[in-house]
Symmetry: C2
Subunit: 135 residues, 2 copies
DNA sequence: TTAAGTGTATTAGGTGATATAATACACTTA
DNA sequence: TAAGTGTATTATATCACCTAATACACTTAA
């Protein structure tokens, strides 16, 4: 239940998943949602590691994946920066959304649920929607 | 890429995920979709382990979870049987679907995508639907 | 009673992913 | 030159996962 604000980024780290994966997911999300602006400087590897009280190598691993995603650029000796290209962010969102959706549809198919069933569930959830997440 | 038919159950096992998880998922799916009938006998722990060429303990782990799901009943000395209760299967489907949907909606939210965006993606995918999964 | 087939439990060991620790190197900027 | 960057390496520790071997309790049928 660690809650940390580092620059314009916000992290909540626990031990339910690999640390590098949580950093990766939350940094991806922040960039995709524009919570950190295009071209902005990311926290340095060492700084983020110190703030989150984890090993620099672990942060490194997440940062390398961010660059592979096209969401950041690294400048040796200077630091890691959010990409300045809106197209890169857009295509990343599209690609990841497609992956999520495919995986989700497979899960639904494995339960024998059709698209119409899903819509019904979601509408029900929307109607009952008053903060009640009871599972 | 192992493909195995064991009784009325079909398994495809690889090393991309934990073995017990694949067995669990595929058995759940078979029961949820009625590919194996209510009350039917499941393959014995030893038989399934032998067919899939994996350790009996690994099958055991999956079978224990199936019972916790309410999808199977074990009769000591006799074997493992699919539950005879359609209600158990139905409530399992509902619960798991809810979990999947919640998780999916969180993923979409992390990308800053609203429900309308998702519908658009899905409709696009449906229109372009001719086996083309290009990722 | 016996034998074969069930689920279950225990103990031991191996492998790989994850994370830490310590250290060093190359590059950039002030 | 010094401080701050990303990067690489080596060693170690822990845990999840899987295997292996063995034993026990129960049920059914011969």
């Amino acid at each position: 239940m660690e809650e940390q604000q580092v620059g314009s980024l916000h992290f909540h780290i626990d031990f339910s998943q690999p640390l590098y994966e949580q950093i990766l997911d939350q940094a991806r999300s922040a960039i995709a949602k524009g919570e950190i602006a295009l071209g902005d400087k990311m926290p340095s590897v060492r700084e983020l590691a110190q703030e989150l009280r984890i090993n620099p190598n672990t942060v490194m691993r997440a940062y390398q994946e961010l660059e592979r995603d096209g969401l950041t650029e690294k400048r040796r000796g200077q630091g890691t920066y959010v990409t300045s290209s809106p197209e890169h962010v857009a295509s990343f969102r599209t690609a990841l959304a497609a992956r999520y959706i495919d995986s989700f549809m497979e899960q639904m198919e494995s339960l024998g649920l059709a698209w119409e069933d899903i819509e019904t569930y979601i509408r029900q959830k929307r109607d009952t929607e008053q903060g009640g997440s009871d599972l």
